[in-house]
């Protein structure tokens, strides 16, 4: 129906919270397609740390028994959007670990659609957002289990931390299941830093900003656990966190 050349509107669910003015400057988005052959394993890290608006559109096709480890850091200084569509064939495995950090008037979003097209595929998604100022951070994540995709295991763990009451987090994990005998779980939480934890760290001598940073560092690190480029990603995230505080 829609062609890639047509700029989406808010009526399009995947763009409901997008910064459409910024998106217009990037449109149409080139799509990067990755195909992983039967039984192969691949990984990819995408880091947005740009000054201006940026958007990435990824399509990942996993053939039977293939596995893919995707890590995203959405931490630029302006609108940042990363959209990922994944299709898993029989026994394929997909893991997403993503962190996004935004402040000011920024909009940051991660939009995923993970389709379990065949039986026994496994997907897991861990998304951590840290939002300050008047920023909006969005995660829209749809997991689709096609008819006949029995033995599916799909998991989403979505958490957002608001540093200011003026920041906004949108988190919408979604399940569309057309098969029996599947295991899908999602957890979603939006919160603030634990006040008692902060006081505990401060009582040991850490200034408030350092105490916050330490707690947020641990929060973000959950997205990059066991990543092939864990150190690089963590360093980049720390840098962005430092700028945010």
């Amino acid at each position: 129906m829609t062609t890639a050349a047509l700029l989406p509107t808010r009526a399009d669910e995947a763009f409901r919270y997008a910064d459409l003015a910024a998106l217009a400057t990037l449109w149409p988005l080139p799509t990067q397609t990755v195909r992983v052959a039967t039984g192969q394993s691949e990984s990819l890290s995408v880091v947005l740390a740009q000054q201006g608006p940026a958007a990435r559109d990824l399509v990942i096709e996993l053939e039977p028994g293939a596995s893919f480890d995707l890590r995203l850091l959405n931490a630029g200084r302006a609108y940042g959007r990363i959209a990922v569509k994944v299709r898993l064939a029989r026994g394929a495995r997909f893991h997403l670990g993503a962190a996004q950090l935004a402040g000011g008037q920024q909009t940051a979003e991660i939009v995923t659609e993970v389709v379990h097209a065949e039986p026994d595929a496994v997907s897991s998604q861990v998304v951590r957002s840290v939002l300050a100022g008047h920023a909006t951070g969005t995660y829209l994540g749809r997991v689709v289990v096609d008819r006949g995709a029995v033995g599916t295991d799909g998991e989403q763990s979505i958490r957002a931390m608001l540093l200011d009451r003026t920041a906004t987090a949108n988190a919408r994990p979604e399940l569309e299941i057309y098969a029996d005998d599947v295991k899908c779980a999602h957890g979603c939480a939006v919160g603030e830093l634990d006040a008692m934890g902060l006081f505990y760290l401060e009582s040991r001598g850490l200034p408030p900003a350092e105490a916050k940073k330490l707690m947020l560092q641990a929060f973000i690190a959950q997205a990059f656990v066991d990543a092939p480029e864990e150190d690089v990603l963590t360093q980049a995230a720390l840098q962005a966190l430092g700028d945010l505080l």
Partner: protein, 246 residues
Amino acid sequence: MLTISDLSNEIAGKAILKGLSLTINPGEIHAIMGPNGAGKSTLAYTLGGRPGYDVTGGSVDFNGQDLLAMAPHERAAAGLFLGFQYPVEIPGVSNVQFLREALNAQRKQRGEEPLSGGAFLKLAREKADLLRMDMDMLKRPVNVGFSGGEKKRAEMVQMGILDPRLAILDETDSGLDIDALRICGEGINAIMRRPDKAVLLITHYQRLLDYVKPDFVHVLAGGRIVRSGGPELALELEQHGYEAVA
């Protein structure tokens, strides 16, 4: 070292401390005992600077500085250590990382050079050994998955590393079995029983005082010190209860 004069405060509009006065000199160990709800933990948190513990009157002098005007991290850098009754779990932050950053933050505030990674680990190992705590536990996230006793021993390891001038220990003995009680007691003595340091122990029971002998014992009731004495007062309390003594 610490002079508390006529301290009053309230939490969420409710008066808890009502004109509490107490003086602690270097080299002294003081114990504060008292019934539940007397304000013991409130006193500890207020001295530590916990948000929400609003001081409504009185003053606290800590080595010539106005303690109440300082932020929690400044109090720590000035040499105050607050041992928590319920040490907080911080998932994802290792003890070693946290304590090194905390110690170096304190040193920076005092205008001292930061401790190198190697020197810090040596210090941490020494204090962990003192409290018979496995170094591997210090590499784990702060207090996460620790038993009650392990949390209290970890608090004492923190105290050893941070090397405060005054330690306020809020029910360090709660949740400890007999062995852990002895280890913590010995730890407190080893770290804090020095002519230039002082301790304020907050406790319900005599048993910790068997290991850490106080010079002074105070009874806190109704938001103020109602009676003070020597170590014999703790024994009297143990025998006759707070009602008889206070």
